[in-house]
Amino acid sequence: GAGVSQTPSNKVTEKGKYVELRCDPISGHTALYWYRQSLGQGPEFLIYFQGTGAADDSGLPNDRFFAVRPEGSVSTLKIQRTERGDSAVYLCASSEGKTGGLDTQYFGPGTRLTVL
């Protein structure tokens, strides 16, 4: 079956521009996560959706970052006024969203964002 897909795979932008990164979760998965991985680091949590609502957005670094999931499936991570420090690989993961048991997160290949 299809896994988590992310588009684009690579994005190069200039400082100050706006970017959108898209994530298509595994069909039927209700939970969706965004992480950011900088060079030499592990993935760092940004935001988590259960259905359409953001259940935990405590990882968003500032108000330039915003994410939506309007129909409970596809999600878009939006970054305004990009800065060079935003350069990283942005990873999306999805899970069944079940309770009472391990809810394994499955990751997409990521979008490599480079801000010049």
Binding site: V4, G42, S95, T99, P109
Partner: protein, 113 residues
């Protein structure tokens, strides 16, 4: 404040031998621990997990050990194969069910013939 630490950035092991990857954590609220494997240009792939109520979980060549009192876990791969060469991330979660993962910085494992 790094809550999950992998102090060895790299490890080199001969094919057929045992690989031992280590992970330490500081937050006693962590309840679930996972290992992910990552190849270049791919997302992390789930490998194995362990709940805080256990001290060992085994899946084929992979075994994870948890020492709660020491806040330490390890991943054993035996026998190691060249295809195991990848970056391995340790991750922890505060909840048994759906929750964010806190990752370590990773250990690059190289298995040579």
């Amino acid at each position: 404040d790094q809550q999950v630490k992998q102090n060895s950035p790299s490890l080199s092991v001969q094919e057929g031998r045992i690989s031992i990857l280590n992970c330490d954590y500081t937050n006693s609220m962590f309840d679930y621990f996972l290992w992910y494997k990552k190849y270049p240009a791919e997302g992390p792939t789930f490998l194995i997990s362990i709940s805080s109520i256990k001290d060992k979980n085994e899946d084929g060549r992979f075994t994870v050990f948890l020492n709660k009192s020491a806040k330490h876990l390890s991943l054993h791969i035996v026998p190691s194969q060249p295809g195991d060469s990848a970056v391995y991330f340790c991750a922890a979660s505060k909840a048994y069910n759906t929750d964010k993962l806190i990752f370590g910085t990773g250990t690059r494992l190289q298995v040579f013939p």
